[in-house]
Symmetry: D2
Subunit: 289 residues, 4 copies
């Protein structure tokens, strides 16, 4: 069901977190411990902020453990904020357009989880996407569609509110289709400045999601690593599974919660999806420009 | 803009027509003479009827000229009716789900051409697809969408009538979007028994499409080839471009015409797309079960 | 470390054995039970005898479980003798030229196992390949090299004797490099008429290899399957891991043994690699033309 | 026969030279004007110096014109020295290990051209590679082998001298095989500080190779581009084909010449391959540590 990782802090060469830690994300692609599926071999994605305009994205359909280009890029791309994702498809095609992170302007989006009954609801949910955002949907996943629903609800102005409406719409639609526990969602969203980490499921039994306690946690990951020893207090790492068994380092993000990693103090907010009935013109309420 | 080839007749090992002829389809992938683009390197597809249930499909994003698996399959798959297609994308992603032939049950569909203004109209045209056919759309091309529109109009019962309605709908939609010459379509359709070859464009200046005059034409292609010398009178080859410059062998399929290759005499019918306004329930008229 | 399967008998559509059985080879690619590695996601290969000249080969670097083309081919290729292989690389590149089966003329070769210390010995072993066979080596695996050593020792005339010399040479070379337990080899070889299944390791603790007891074994696999109920007495299936837990159906091929599946009675022969010192001209003794 | 480009100078986002110029390298992949083949669709490679240790390398078997990841990387990787290469295979497999640039430590190597009669000579030339460099050869191209021959002759100490010996060896070997005009070589080599651009062929009719006259040349390429207007005097661009038809900007590198782009004045040196007979131990003379 996918695993993901997000870094926000001091610029790092990506491999420092992707390949070098014990049980890092690439190891999780082959030997996931906490996921529903042990193997996440149906594609990889990296989105990073750095040189050039907006975030760069690398999408690969090769399993992460064997992707030579990924190893190269991880060793030569430096970034203060990046999201990485290993995929285990829940049925949609293995193709680059289905790899996370998805991007819209400066925004990146990764998702671990699924929408139950998606194939049956897909047409109706696609219709609920803002028409001028529709062309941005290049693949066929539930995740990309959820992102575009949220964009239509104003994700760029209010990520938490927009995600609450987007997931609320999916849940309301699912109920009409007779699906009770529709949404499993561990989601990472970023605009390059902040990183939102959502943990939510309709049934209240969400996939795991952890955040590093503070900079000292990451320092302990690699006491021998000079770069990591110099981490700033605001450096934060969000992961689907702990990178290693360092007791006391990893804090579980609670159920129905969103963590906002940002300059200054990070905050945890309750996350309560809800549905606003569609307006008379048949399209959902819209906040975005 | 793609090139395609269709064979109907005596069982042949596919390479006899795909690789061995001078200027065969794979050569056209690298050196198209009559196409808008010289290079058709954005994917390949082969659909064939033979062993197993229904047609088999091989889709590759590698250029046909360098695809080792294609060369193997062509040398070891034998079929009495197959369609092959080399792709030059008009903008949509290079991925297997965008490779022709598209398949629905026993039906195969290949398309050379495009729908002008497709990106703007895509959402509306997707909505016009029969809801219970919607899940069959796996990729993002205009071609696959056109196929599913036609399926909704009853392609399995009346291929010519359904294609006339499907293209008519696209043309009517395009007019509302201010696009005048919306459709360029050289299309091959088969159910494993018959092969329909459509040549049509809104502006009346269609991509080339040819059919072999009769079995003797194909025999002349390879006078040294024992297998081909034994061809039956009903064997027919349809191609975007003549395989070689054998004078008198290739007959151009006329503008706004569909050729039906079938047991007994083949027929050419006029092809006249037209639009039936949607019914009051907002969905197009539907003939299929 | 790879898993493989070989079928010899009545023509079958490949999926009957590749996808349909419980714990078939494609399931083993994701959830191997008896292999050193649980995941065999570094490529797939199918070699089959059927239409066209010699065996056809399909090689893919996508994991078998997610390869749409593999599913298509398995459903539409029918063959009386085929070998399939899922790969877990022991270090060499994930690329089509490293996928099994390897082919030489009418011969196919699959290997599960490895040559310990191969990287250090590779140059010397390459030199030991017959010069006129050298150009046939397209990839970089130990397996393909072992095949070409055996070809040089006359595999086409005497598969067992040639394999004994080839593995003997590797073992002798390895000893000079200080590697004691050099070879792990569960190998399948075929010329389209017979199928040789070798089980051997220098240390005498070989990877598992099983053969179906007789046609009734395969019939029990799918009592509901009409085709399988009609199997001939000579039909045989060789597998790295039993396809399902049918007690009494699977016979383990003993250590240091080669099973020859052939028309008439199959035979099991002892397999005893040994080394013939090189001749004075510096090249190994050669039996092949 | 491939096309390549090398940049040395002020850090640039790669797309400034790869995608934005009229008739840039990616356009040349589809519409080469001066190459033997118009289409260079058999793979792409980028090697760059920047973040991380040593150069990074991206290799892709997708045609450059359709590779979405390449577009992303080009837009988000910034480098003061990079080499890019589009490949048209002369027979060897289309796989990442055959994509340029090849790398050894801090060194990168790209090649446009070929070794005539390579398949017949490959075994002998492989033997001539220094044994401890042998394991660095991952693919099957003539280019990678030539690079490793030159490494054995001391390329890291004396690139020009080592290339003269390496090509000299190939020419001498070829003569024994009855091949007269063995080498076509437009080669780019870099250690991250300097860039060597070789133009040579045995027959004295080499593939084209050009260098930008001076910084003003590149400025004229994009008068509207602020970044390029700020180029330093030492910025240099080496290309197989001129990027656009700016008269007076492009200087042809003469036959049998190597251009050294370096801090301070660049120099052009004569390039005269010659052969040193092997020493009595059967291996070539060796300069490298």
């Amino acid at each position: 069901m996918c695993r993901w990782m997000g870094w926000s802090g001091q610029p790092l060469v990506v491999e420092e977190l992707l390949f070098k830690p014990q049980h890092g994300l690439v190891d999780q692609s082959l030997h996931s411990r906490l996921g529903v599926e042990r193997t996440n071999g149906d594609g990889f994605g990296l989105g990073w902020y750095g040189a050039g305009d907006g975030p760069g994205v690398y999408h690969s359909v090769a399993p992460a453990w064997g992707d030579v280009n990924l190893r190269e890029l991880a060793a030569h791309i430096e970034s203060p904020l990046f999201l990485a994702h290993v995929r285990a498809t829940t049925g949609t095609a293995i193709q680059q357009t289905n790899c996370h992170p998805f991007r819209h302007g400066r925004w990146l989006f990764v998702h671990n989880g699924l929408i139950e009954g998606f194939e049956a609801m897909r047409r109706e949910l696609l219709l609920a996407v803002e028409p001028d955002l529709f062309a941005g949907i290049k693949g066929s996943t539930d995740s990309e569609l959820l992102f575009h629903l949220a964009l239509g609800y104003g994700l760029e102005q209010d990520p938490v509110g927009a995600m609450e409406l987007a997931i609320g719409l999916v849940e309301a639609t699912a109920l009409r289709y007779g699906v009770e526990n529709a949404v499993q969602a561990s989601v990472g969203v970023s605009d390059g400045e902040r990183l939102w980490a959502f943990r939510y499921s309709t049934e209240g039994r969400s996939r795991t999601l952890f955040v590093s306690a503070d900079a000292s946690a990451v320092r302990q990951l690699h006491p021998e690593n000079e770069r990591l020893q110099g981490l700033r207090d605001e450096d934060r790492l969000v992961v689907s599974e702990p990178l290693a068994d360092l007791e006391g380092v990893w804090q579980e993000i609670p159920e129905s919660t969103v963590l906002v990693v940002q300059p200054g103090d990070d905050v945890q907010l309750p996350f309560r999806p809800h549905h606003e009935p569609a307006q008379s013109n048949g399209t959902p309420a819209r906040l975005s420009g």
